[in-house]
Amino acid sequence: MGIERRNTHPIRIVALLILVACLALFPFVVTNRFYISLVNEMLIYGLLAMSLDVLLGYTGLLSFMHNAYLGIGAYVVGLFLIHVSPSSLWLAILTGMVVTSLISLPVGWVQVRTGGLAFALLTLAFGMMFYTIVWKWYDLTGGDDGLMGVPHPDIHLAGIVLGNSGNPTAMYLLTLCLVLICFFLTWRIIRSPFGAVLEAIRENEERASFVGINVRRYKLYGWMYACMLGSVSGALFILYRGYIGPTTMSAFAGAGVLMMVLVGGMGSLWGPIVGAGIFIFIQDYISTMTEHWELFV
């Protein structure tokens, strides 16, 4: 009389392992820096898109400018590395996560009082607000110029230095590890009792309320988790690039993230990652074409 656990299908696990192995070996096979960075970027945005899917596909909340939280995370990590400690990689990432979560708390608190369209519009409003703050606060963020010259700390684990975050291959592998950890974590959470509550809220908020769920509170938890994941993608972003500017936090970029989720498929977690891959590939491909075009003209 039990319910079958649908996740332990052997073929799926093998396929996943093969995929992970391919991704891990990728930088050693394709040694071109550019392509390594490209796939790195795909993974980073894949993580951001996945966090948006937690909101959209699982809780039923549309966030128009989720990239704002990638941005905030990136800026916090960057500022930490510049002003506090240029060598503390993990502390920087942790600080990024904590500060972003603290910022997302009051924003979320206001937003969860609404749902549907109103919620989406509020996310847009807050997103634009953050963009404007970042753009105007020149002394802190470098305004339009962005945050430049962010140091590249060493990647160390248990006292051993594994590489430097300025090295594309090392950074790529760090990104892959963290994205996989976040993916696995999110996958567990979605299948947990907590995840079931989020799904119920997506399906029918009123009914969720009347089976005893405090809808606002759980929406807030889902929101903060999604923003925290966004900040991890932000940390990875600035560690790999050494630079962050307000364009990453623009409404245009925000629409891009949303498209990644929609193209890849809401509600599957891995779908948005694929969507991000496709989106960034197309973006890159088109800009290459244009470049070549201009060369010929």
Partner: protein, 247 residues
């Protein structure tokens, strides 16, 4: 017979309209009370105010001795006040089992567990199966609820309300749009519930109302005009006048 829930001087305005006008009702345990009334009587509004879907304009809702007026719906569920809706309100994208399971989980706890699989909450699973068995839905556990027939969807909603471990259950037109066979089935089931809990029924099907109710409260234009067992209500002149119109 103890009074589980009562309203005292309950009022609800909508702009200029007084939908619920100074209503005092006592709901007893193990009693099936139907609320009936002609057009615009305020029946569903009354239920909505009690169950926290709407706020009261004035007056009180008392759960035992506790004043629960204007408490939000999800908190009332925890006290044991559960309900179904006039238009079926279930989790359409989830299976029958999951619909009841999440309702059970909300009541028994475990919603903050993020690292275990939701299937691992043993007590929740046990209780979910018990409820499905009681309603005769155990064979349909894996069916996506949007594939169910209308009558089964409404049964499912009752199951979800029962998962909240209610002391009092409010059912808003449970037989709406059901075939005669489905109607009979659910009426029997609802009557059986009064072994353990109080049940309040808003219904338009008078055959059902008269056959299973212990007590009937008649509302007309927001006010209580009569209360009593079915036989009394059928012979009550005020009730007749309300339904048949003035002389």
């Amino acid at each position: 017979m103890t009074t589980i829930l009562s309203t005292k001087g309950l009022h609800k305005h909508f702009g200029g309209v007084l939908a619920v006008n100074d209503v005092d009702v006592e709901f007893q345990s193990n009693c099936l009370r139907s609320i009936i009334g002609p057009n615009g009587a305020g029946k569903t509004t009354f239920i909505n105010v009690i169950t926290g879907k709407l706020s009261a304009s004035s007056g009180a809702v008392l759960f035992g001795e506790q004043d629960i007026t204007n408490r939000p719906g999800h908190r009332l569920v925890r006290l044991g006040i559960c309900r179904t809706f006039q238009i079926t309100s279930i989790f359409m994208g989830l299976t029958v089992f999951e619909n009841v399971r999440i309702a059970t989980q909300s009541r028994l706890g475990g919603s903050l567990r993020i690292f275990s699989a939701k299937e691992s909450l043993k007590a929740v699973n046990r209780k979910t199966w018990k409820i499905l068995d009681r309603l005769g839905m155990e064979t349909k556990a894996d069916v996506p609820s949007n594939n169910l027939a209308h009558g089964d969807q409404r049964l499912l909603e009752v199951a979800m309300a029962l998962a909240g471990n209610p002391k009092i259950l409010f059912l808003d037109e449970p037989t709406a749009g059901m075939s005669p066979a489905e109607t009979e089935h659910i009426a029997k089931l609802i009557k059986g519930l009064t072994d353990t809990i109080a049940v309040v029924l808003v219904e338009h099907d008078m055959d059902v109302v008269m056959s299973i109710s212990d007590e009937i409260t008649v509302l007309n234009q927001g006010s209580v005009i009569a209360e009593g067992p079915p036989r009394e209500i059928q012979n009550n002149d005020l009730v007749k006048e309300a339904y048949l119109g003035h002389a």
